[in-house]
């Protein structure tokens, strides 16, 4: 029987299988950041252990950092302390850190790919659930907890049980105005916020193949939002072209050798998945979420569903969610006013996202009632945006172009949405309080968010395309 890409990568990385238990899995690359690593370093110190393979670890500061005046010391004491801990831990153990002020600094899942650290066939982990992003390159990438960060720092290995495998194929072509964020929100709405639990997903089909690398990252990024351990896409010419010439990508004879291996990373015709889902790309609309988990999404022309049809056990949670959002069952989502627009996060903060927004916004102004924050994913994205004059477009529109970090995706820094306010956000989670205590989040694509920025409400981007 043939193998899936996942199985090919898994088999190559098993150091040992334990009878009736997990496998010892070798990890090629380990990304760390300031929030989920300090206790792991403490643990190592407590056990008197060094970092086993510091050159396979890459660090950055992203979760906590301010997005204005990054050249000044961090004002918030606890955030500053955490970032200082990362600096001293990395210096002491020989780990490369792209911290504040470094030209490579940025959101960990943005910088890994843009620097060419992320490469097909690798195993990649990080103490962050959106590590699934790196799967866009045909890697086995997944989020881990801090105890596991400690394990990888100590041994470059993890104990893992093999997940079940699911393939989601998106066939045909996307309609105008529908982008990769809509595909993944559509998938999660279809199979629910827990529909992928226990699985590792492979995304396939014409609509996926036709996406750029950055658009593929958006899809893989949100695999965790349906509970999946991770998600990946077979590497192809698009992947190789993206990687060629990147800072840490192989070059010369190494490139040729790597390329030959990468070309073997496709799922064999006769490989078998535990679950297969097929979706017609033409059925996907621009999506918006209305509730407090990413599975609570609808096409922008749709109505918020009624709780009547739900099983008794789910009614309570559903109603609590709609109440929290201040919305009503049966309400059209189109026309819902918003107060804030956040364009950023490891889901949608790359240069193509910013270009997409700028192209739509050029010559337009933001609505009076909204505040618009654009937070680029990395210093390199920020630099590129300035070189292309995108910063000028945003400035003219009344948008704030900030400095790189996770920002209002999780509100660990000062970038919080005030209580009761609505934010249309290109991030990945609409959980209660995610963007600030009692903040209300509507997840959408950069295009749909850009439209809301200029109209002040949720709208259908398809009515605004030339």
């Amino acid at each position: 029987m043939g193998k899936t890409i996942f199985e090919k990568i898994w088999d190559k990385h098993v150091v040992k299988s334990i009878e009736g238990g997990p496998s010892v899995l070798y990890i090629d690359r380990h990304f760390i950041h300031e929030v989920t690593s300090p206790q792991a370093f403490n643990g190592l110190e407590h056990r008197g252990l060094p970092v086993f393979r510091p050159r396979q670890v890459v660090a950055t500061a992203d979760h906590n950092v301010p997005t204005i005046d990054q050249h000044l010391p961090i004002r918030e004491e606890h955030s500053r302390k955490q970032v200082d801990h990362l600096i001293s831990n990395c210096a002491r153990t020989g780990i490369e850190l792209y911290g504040l002020g470094h030209p490579y600094q940025g959101i960990v899942h943005v910088i890994g790919p843009e620097l060419g650290v992320t490469q097909p066939g690798m195993t990649i982990v990080c103490g962050d659930s959106h590590t699934s992003t790196h799967g866009a390159f045909g890697t086995m990438a997944f989020g881990i907890g801090t105890s596991e960060v400690e394990m990888v720092l100590a041994t470059q290995c993890l104990m893992q049980s093999k997940p079940k495998l699911m393939r989601i194929s998106v066939d045909g072509k996307l309609n105008p105005g529908v982008v990769s964020k809509d595909i993944i929100l559509h998938i999660i709405a279809l199979i629910s916020a827990s529909g992928g639990t226990g699985y590792f997903v492979e995304y396939a089909g014409e609509a996926i193949r036709s996406l750029s690398m950055e658009a593929r990252m958006t899809i893989c990024n949100m695999s965790i939002e349906m509970g999946a351990r991770g998600g990946l896409i077979a590497p192809d010419e698009t992947t190789f072209a993206y990687l060629k010439g990147r800072t840490f990508a192989p070059s010369g004879a190494d490139w040729d050798r790597s390329l030959a291996y990468w070309r073997t990373l496709s799922t064999d015709e006769d490989a078998v998945f535990d679950r297969e889902i097929r979706i017609n790309a033409a059925d996907i609309e621009p999506m918006v979420t209305y509730g407090t988990n990413p599975g609570m999404g609808i096409g922008v022309s749709g109505m918020i569903p009624s709780s009547h049809a739900l099983p008794e056990s789910e009614k309570n949670s559903f109603r609590k969610s709609i109440d929290y959002m201040g919305l009503k069952e049966g309400q059209l989502i189109k026309g819902q006013p918003v107060d804030y627009v956040f364009i950023g996060s490891c889901t949608n903060s790359r240069i193509e996202d910013l270009r997409m927004v700028a192209e739509f916004v050029k010559g337009k102004k933001k609505a009076d009632n909204v505040e618009v924050w654009i937070v680029p994913g990395s210093k390199q994205v920020e630099k590129q945006a300035r070189e292309e004059g995108i910063d000028k477009v945003f400035e003219a529109a009344g948008f704030q172009l900030r400095q790189p970090g996770c920002s209002a995706c999780l509100g660990m820094n000062e970038d919080k949405i005030p209580a009761g306010k609505y934010c249309i956000s290109t991030s990945n989670r609409n959980f209660e309080g995610r963007q600030g205590p009692r903040a209300r989040t509507l997840l959408a694509s950069p295009l749909t968010a850009a439209l809301a920025a200029v109209t002040g409400k949720v709208g259908d981007i398809r009515e605004h395309l030339n």
């Binding site: 009736g20 300090p38 105890s147 470059q156 104990m159 639990t197 509970g227 999780l410 989670r429």
Partner: protein, 196 residues
């Protein structure tokens, strides 16, 4: 922190909601610590207090009500979804729970719980519903979780259900071993793997 689990006999604390994400268990603004202490008091912080103020507890939330206490937390399906923050498992454990029961756990949370000697017990929807129903009519209801036997039971009614756990993790929990001890013992194999 208990570094092994065998049997837990306790009353239960029911949180009857589905899809409880780790942002609810411990909001991001409390993740700024550099050690593992003090998360218990912020468990379910925003469900527990009005206006983020400990002087204004929400009286209808279970953790604020004296009749609900015990070492077993019981919650709706897809518990622990979202962020990988292990702080969620630390907060639950530090608050005094040794077991979490749900009909479905998110993968990363389950691993984090196991790595902190917090036992995730997955039961059927039917058994979960029974637990909620019985405890609501009698909050003094006791539940027994027996790891050795892989059995959760209600002594007063005789209801019980078996639960799954892989043998490796079971041995770890029963004996207080952690994965790092095991992985460190694998160092020669790991170095051999690197050379191939």
């Amino acid at each position: 922190m208990n570094k092994s689990i065998h049997k837990v006999l306790s009353t239960i604390v029911p949180v009857r909601h589905e899809n409880i994400d780790t942002d609810q268990i411990i909001p991001a603004r409390f993740l700024k610590a550099t050690n593992k202490d003090g998360f218990g008091k912020n468990l379910f912080r925003d469900w527990r207090y009005h206006n983020d103020d400990e002087a204004q507890p929400k009286t209808d939330f279970v953790l604020n009500h004296p009749i609900w206490k015990g070492r077993i937390l019981v919650a709706g399906k897809n518990f622990g979804c979202g962020s990988s923050r292990e702080h969620a498992a630390w907060a639950i454990k530090h608050h005094g729970f040794d077991v979490v029961v749900s009909s479905f756990f998110a993968d990363i949370f389950k691993n984090n719980a196991l790595n902190n000697f917090l036992l995730p017990v997955q039961v059927s929807d039917k058994f979960l519903d029974l637990l909620f129903t019985l405890t609501h009519s009698d909050p003094s209801l006791e539940v027994l979780v027996d790891l050795e036997q892989q059995l959760i039971s209600i002594p007063s009614t005789g209801d019980s259900e078996a639960f799954e756990i892989n043998n490796y993790k079971k041995t770890c929990l029963l004996n207080g071993y952690d994965d790092i001890d095991y992985l460190l013992s694998m160092r020669p194999e790991i170095e051999a793997y690197e050379k191939q």
